[in-house]
């Protein structure tokens, strides 16, 4: 990846992280940990990969995105706002009465949200339906869905995976945000879903393992996914929960807790510092 693009994407990811922290802090609730771990993947999709138009959010042939791990809505909202779907200022209304920005994504309210999600395991099924619709209607759009690594404990994920593999949905790309932590602790201790890659392989997915914070690897994976024919792709992205905010990194306790005012100041100072370094 060229340095200009890498810088652009790093800036976008940093802004997504800042928007997510801003929203969760204002709401005094929400899910910062997973929002931060998936920020780079989401930045790549919204600022490089997907064929989308913020001026025409329902454009018929657009690529679709389903946030199967709907609780990291703060990251999705920040991506949409920074991409021009709605004002960045609106991120401060997250989870408040009267706001479009519901605790989990609402396709009826928010421009750019292709599917309402939040109940884990359901988004990937909807993504399969969208991919199948593309096949049935001979459309060449692609469908992307981000799952949590804890989420794949849901049986529905494997029902959907069986469907995707069986139907040869090569227009579907599943990304697992493998940050290793869920609410109750380490996913390997709670009820291990490992080996994740082998599981998707056995469901007839083309599987790519990457570092989910490395844009070269992210780009290579999404480019490779587009060349795969006759099977869906699963990108297993190794990530750090809370990535970018030092005291949140690798701590399950930051799954669903909002920073207090002091923590918010520290987090934003760190992210502003990162932003300044990128812009320098």
């Amino acid at each position: 990846m060229n340095q200009t693009l890498k810088k652009e994407l790093s800036l976008a990811a940093c802004k997504i992280r800042m928007g997510a922290i801003e929203g969760v802090h204002c709401a005094k609730s929400g899910h910062p940990g997973g929002s931060l771990s998936a920020a780079d993947i989401i930045a790549y999709l919204y600022f490089k990969e997907m064929n989308i138009d913020p001026q025409d959010p329902k454009k018929e042939d657009r690529d679709r995105f389903v946030l199967s791990k709907g609780h990291i809505a703060p990251a999705l909202y920040a991506a949409l706002a920074n991409r021009g779907y709605f004002p960045v200022e609106e991120l401060k209304t997250l989870r408040k009465i009267g706001s479009r920005l519901q605790g989990h994504p609402d396709m009826k309210k928010i421009p750019g949200v292709d599917m309402s999600t939040g109940s884990l395991g359901q988004g990937i099924s909807a993504a399969c339906g969208m991919a199948k619709a593309g096949k049935l209607m001979n459309k060449d759009y692609r469908v992307y869905t981000v799952l949590g690594d804890g989420e794949i404990q849901e049986g529905q994920v494997w029902e959907a995976s069986m469907f995707a593999g069986h139907n040869k949905l090569d227009n579907l790309c599943v990304i697992v945000d493998n940050n290793g932590l869920q609410i109750d602790g380490n996913i390997a201790d709670v009820c291990s879903p490992y080996p994740i890659d082998e599981k998707f392989k056995s469901f007839n997915f083309h599987v790519i393992n990457i570092d989910g914070h490395n844009f070269d690897e992210i780009e290579a994976a999404f480019e490779e996914a587009k060349t795969v024919k006759g099977q869906p792709t699963a990108i297993i992205a190794k990530t750090v929960k809370g990535k970018g905010v030092s005291f949140m990194e690798n701590k399950a306790s930051w799954h669903g807790t909002a920073p207090n005012d002091e923590q918010y100041e520290i987090a934003m100072a760190e992210l502003n510092q990162a932003l300044a370094e990128l812009e320098a």
């Binding site: 679709r64 396709m107 099924s125 909807a126 399969c128 991919a131 209607m137 049986g155 469907f163």
Partner: protein, 314 residues
Amino acid sequence: MADVKKIATRESYGNALAELAAEYPNLVVLDADLAGATKTATFKKVCPERFIDCGIAEANMIGVAAGLSACGMIPFASSFAMFAAGRAFEQIRNSVGYPHNNVKIGATHAGISVGEDGATHQCCEDIALMRTIPGMVIINPADDVEAKAAVRAAIEHVGPVYLRFGRMAVPVVNDAETYKFELGKGITLRDGKDITVVATGLMVAEAIEAGELLAKEGIDARIINIHTIKPLDEELICKAARETGKIITIEEHSVIGGLGSAVCDAVSANCPVPVVKMGVQDVFGHSGPGGDLITEFGLRAANIVETAKKMLNK
């Protein structure tokens, strides 16, 4: 009714889908390994390219249907009522109901008339479950004519629809030439002033017979067919409550949360009158021939007559 033509409404469902395949190029039918039983195989025969077998995975099937609808298709997701409304309840609520996706759920084998398969497969809770989902339309057709009309109405309605069909062959009580289906509108099959019988699904035939039997005993019963349980035709129900003063509801479903409860909700708020709810009385079913179970559970015309006479102190 030995000489009356009989057909199961699940047959009507499959036939209607097949008939509508050409007219609606975005119609797509999903099943979960029960195409032979839900009769979606009839659609598959004429339109295999728009038939999707999801395997035995109802939760995923509902989600796939939601995704298809979000891309402009009109999916009919089919399974037994138990596994559609029951197993996939939360998927229907969150992936279909909450986003108001244009998904139609074709639930067959509802109620105790499923018969020999027994209680695990006899869903008497589906109407109750579906009624709690905001924006969900619930249609429980009485016969072949109404079932086919209901499938067309479901396609034409934009938004989620739950269609309830039965396994057992039931008499065709409506005249295909004159029948008109209007979503959300009940049908008065017999006018009367002494008492009202509100029936739905395959209980409509029993209610019609009960009306005739009651007439012979000098009781003038009003018979209403409620094919759309949600939204309920409250105007028609309340008018009947005011004019007849007593209501019997009858459904092949639990008396908790179904048609009877919906009628009680309507009359208690607007025009309180005594209501007796006939149906499955908070018990599970069991194996046996479907028709025999209907009799055993007290859902025959004779039972309606008995209930009416009791309410009228006759």
